[in-house]
Symmetry: C3
């Protein structure tokens, strides 16, 4: 549990840094950077908790999530050039974060005795809606609706997670295998420019 | 009740199809289509339930609402051309759906012992905020703020509904008369291009 | 308390008028004006209450808030020219409203036994997120992320409020001093065109 908590905080830091960098691309000031970083990192989980009426929401109960966002924004200001040079590493961490958020979101929802399809949906919401809110706030059509296949990767991952839960597998494997699958799909998708079809 | 439940599901299918067609106009992929269809069909009721602290939210408690959205998106993919040729029929169903969502939203709010003005407002929110959310997500200014008079039609309908409740009228008439009124106003408004004035 | 309640309603009227004027700049109709006025005036508090799971939300429990919005929109329609000529007075009231909403938002959150950093954050959310929602709905990037320093003024004010609470000061001073500080910072910021740096 301890380990997952720390991984979760790390995921928040990475998402928040990516939010802060986006804010700087859009020439926002420090306040805007904090808001966008916060929403990128914590928006998906917040929407999930509101929809499920799960209170207090994670970051309301535990300010460490907020501190993680503030630290991330400070790092983005102090080491912008260095972080920009780490785009590949950042992308890798971002992919880990997405997988983690997706699987943990589904796990949390199942723990509330919700229907399986709600749990699958909430896993995807946890992972991708922070980015959707970010895009709406900076005034662009959410990227995820157009190009990136990572919502689909999350969906595949959380479905696999729900399937694995039916078997007698050690719980750490049940968590790790879907996260790895989400990572692999996303990395392959970016490499080979996979995309979903739309309605013709 | 059974009949209203089925009508409600039918309304969701129609709204979701219109959402999926909009998503395809904006060249979104399958994931985007599902999200936009979901939000168009269920967004208004979700906002109402969140504001009233009514949990579990309809579709969280009853996955049939989600299945209705998925079926609608599948239909949009499979029969796009045929559905497009049915624009008039679709528009009629859409108008029925709006009237139904408005009146049922007001009825639900009154059932929670809320003030009448809140119930009226929630009827309008139920019917139109799905479309507002859809427009925000695809990056256009909500249509409803500019041209279509249908929010006003909903308002008139739910006010009539609240008035009819004061009289000793069979409950199915109390439901149907306002829905018919919303339909008639909207159809006339579209035919004669009525619009509300703004601040000059 | 009575006095704060009336001040709060006055703040809502001013925010709602500014929302209605913005709606008219964007050529919205009467329905759009009411929605934008409502969201400008009550959106920040609504988001705060949803995040804190505080129900019923202020305006759900007390329709006077809704009436204040409707009165404000009616005034905007009837006296548009006169109100436009009062821009300076409006700006002053707007600044009072922001200070008031920020401090009262923090006070309310502390009353729910929340962590101090959550209370500070909720003060800022109460004061500025109505404007953020308004900007998103009318399709522009929230102003506050780019230019105006008033989020920072709110932050400074609510931090001062939390500090003053630690001392043995009459409660009306604890409220008024931070509100004055928010007003002074904002007025100076506008006069001297202060702005926050972004990430270079």
């Amino acid at each position: 549990m301890e380990f997952i908590y720390i991984l979760n905080l790390a995921g928040i830091v990475v998402f928040a840094i990516s939010g802060a960098l986006t804010a700087s691309d859009y020439k926002m000031d420090a306040f805007g950077s904090v808001v966008i970083a916060f929403i990128t990192a914590l928006g998906g989980g917040t929407i999930r908790d509101l929809l499920l009426d799960y209170h207090p929401i994670g970051w309301v109960a535990d300010p460490n999530y907020l501190y993680a966002v503030l630290v991330a924004v400070a790092l983005s200001y102090l080491f912008k050039r260095w972080i920009a040079s780490l785009r590949r590493t950042m992308f890798l961490f971002d992919t880990i974060g997405i997988g983690l958020f997706a699987v943990l979101g589904t796990e949390k929802t199942l723990g509330l005795d919700m229907h399986m399809i709600i749990a699958i949906m909430m896993g995807v919401v946890s992972a991708v809606f922070g980015g959707v809110l970010r895009d709406v706030l900076i005034g662009r059509v959410p990227l995820i609706f157009r190009k990136e296949i990572y919502a689909t990767a999350c969906l595949a991952g959380v479905v696999l997670y729900v399937v694995l839960l039916q078997f007698n597998i050690p719980s750490y494997l049940t968590l790790i295998i879907p996260i790895l699958m989400i990572m692999v799909i996303r990395l392959l998708a970016v490499k080979y420019e996979w995309s979903l079809p739309g309605i013709k």
